[in-house]
């Protein structure tokens, strides 16, 4: 089975994913997560079949209601006949490697609805709010025919901005009373938003939060033809979800009209390719530093303080370049 799969130009699981086979999709996502070699030919075969569907990323602190919001958004989109795939990322334990993936609790779908696919994903040590496999999993969902992909990041802090590397529209979800307006001036999360969403607007203080964000947005940055929209939502008394979707759609339309979609895609793909090489080289060098006797001595010298890490890095780099 494995031999035939390897030599076949289009692996059976790639064909199955194109047919809309949900088990094949789910298994291939696992293969990507687990770093299995069998994922590579599937990704290779499916890449030309992807349609570059919108990938909408949701970032924001823990507990602001990202999961509930996505649930309502999916319901709204399904009512319009749009098919949706969701990837919800939660953190892995740095101690055990284990994870409790709880975003599915908030997710309700009509029984038997084939127009929606929900996948929980552990971050497995990746920083920045998404997992290493998130981008390629979204690509498989694109190939499987879903009209768009929603990505919920790990309940994030101020610097968790990796979602910008995969999403076409970034929604930063906040709630009232997260801090004073100086918070909105800080670098990081606030800078990546195409759309701000103030959730839990049924709580007091929501007007204040929206006003602060509106001021922030009015300040710039200049030089881009898009001014982030500010939406307000509540998931307990469902409100504002349609308006949030309109804001997201407006940004997607802007990407096409301005030419930023193609530009952004090129930029993201460049970063992806470099990232893949960096990961591979990093893995190989780590392994060699532990196994190769000469390189082990190099490490010993650094440990003994007889050479410094930068000098050792130059030598290791030289070795790596000669061997490739």
């Amino acid at each position: 089975m494995t031999a035939r799969r390897r030599t076949s130009p289009v692996p059976a699981s790639a064909r199955a994913i194109l047919r809309g086979d949900r088990r094949a999709l789910a298994r291939t996502i696992s293969a990507i997560e687990d770093g299995e070699a069998e994922a590579t030919p599937v990704l290779r075969a499916l890449f030309p079949r992807t349609r570059q569907v919108p990938v909408i990323g949701f970032a924001g602190p823990l507990g602001v209601g990202k999961s509930s919001l996505i649930n309502l958004l999916v319901r709204h989109l399904r009512a319009q006949g749009t098919t949706v795939a969701v990837i919800a990322v939660d953190p892995s334990s740095p101690f055990s490697g284990g994870s409790v993936l709880g975003d599915r609790i908030r997710f309700e779908s009509r029984p038997g609805d084939q127009g929606v696919f929900f996948r929980s994903m552990a971050s497995r040590g990746a920083a920045g709010g998404i997992a290493a496999a998130t981008r390629e999993a979204a690509r498989l969902m694109d190939a499987a025919g879903f009209d768009l992909v929603l990505v919920e990041t790990v309940g994030s802090g101020q610097v968790d901005v990796a979602i910008r590397e995969i999403a076409t529209t970034r929604v930063v979800v906040l709630v009232p009373h997260l801090g004073d307006e100086v918070q909105t001036l800080k670098a990081g999360l606030f800078e990546i938003a195409d759309v701000f969403c103030v959730n839990k607007i049924d709580l007091p203080g929501s007007e204040h939060a929206r006003r602060d964000l509106a001021e922030l947005v009015a300040l710039g940055p200049k030089g881009r033809g898009w001014t982030p929209r500010v939406a307000g939502t509540s998931t307990t008394v469902p409100t504002g979800v349609e308006a949030l979707w309109h804001a997201i759609e407006a940004h997607e339309k802007y990407l096409d009209a301005s030419g930023e979609r193609a530009e952004g895609e090129r930029h993201r793909l460049a970063a992806e390719i470099v990232g893949l090489v960096r990961d591979r080289v990093g893995r190989e060098l780590t392994e060699r530093l532990e196994r190769d006797p000469t390189l082990r001595r190099l490490l010993d010298q650094v440990v003994a303080r007889s050479i410094d890490p930068r000098t050792a890095a130059d030598r290791l780099d030289g070795v790596a370049r000669r061997s490739t």
Partner: protein
């Protein structure tokens, strides 16, 4: 197809923990989820009041190695066999299922013969649950 997880570092076991039926007591399920997490597993916690259809759907989309069902309502003889039947119907009959809750011995025997791989009552230790779950998910290891 068996999962050939032959990478240098073993891939984490993915397990779905769900509560079928209408009882609202999920403390046991949460304690088990936490213990499995601490044993290095990725636990998809589906939560309360799941229908057998939702459980099977989640198991397929999440590509789990194992399913744990917690049930205290007494409806286990209706709900658990229904999950097993639907798994088979959807080509996922090989995913092992274990159950926990208040299940009388006679029912436990019947559930085992219907295909439930392990059943834990209120006195079961977490160590026992973790080690059984590991063996069920990775029989060769």
């Amino acid at each position: 197809m068996t999962k050939a997880r032959g990478a240098a570092k073993p891939a984490p076991i993915r397990v779905l923990i769900a509560k079928p039926g209408l009882d609202g007591h999920d403390r046991g399920a949460k304690v088990v989820a936490r213990a499995l997490r601490d044993a290095g597993m990725e636990v998809i916690y589906a939560g309360l009041r799941q229908t057998p259809e939702e459980i099977v759907r989640a198991s397929i989309e999440e590509d789990v190695d194992l399913i744990g069902l917690s049930i205290l309502s007494g409806a286990h003889m209706a709900l658990i066999p229904r999950v097993l039947t639907l798994l088979k119907k959807n080509g996922a009959g090989k995913i092992p299922v274990f159950a926990g809750g208040i299940i009388p011995d006679e029912d436990a025997r019947r559930l085992r013969s219907a295909g439930v791989r392990a059943i834990f009552g209120p006195g079961a230790s977490l160590d026992e649950i973790v080690s059984t779950a590991t063996k069920l998910a990775r029989p060769a290891a």
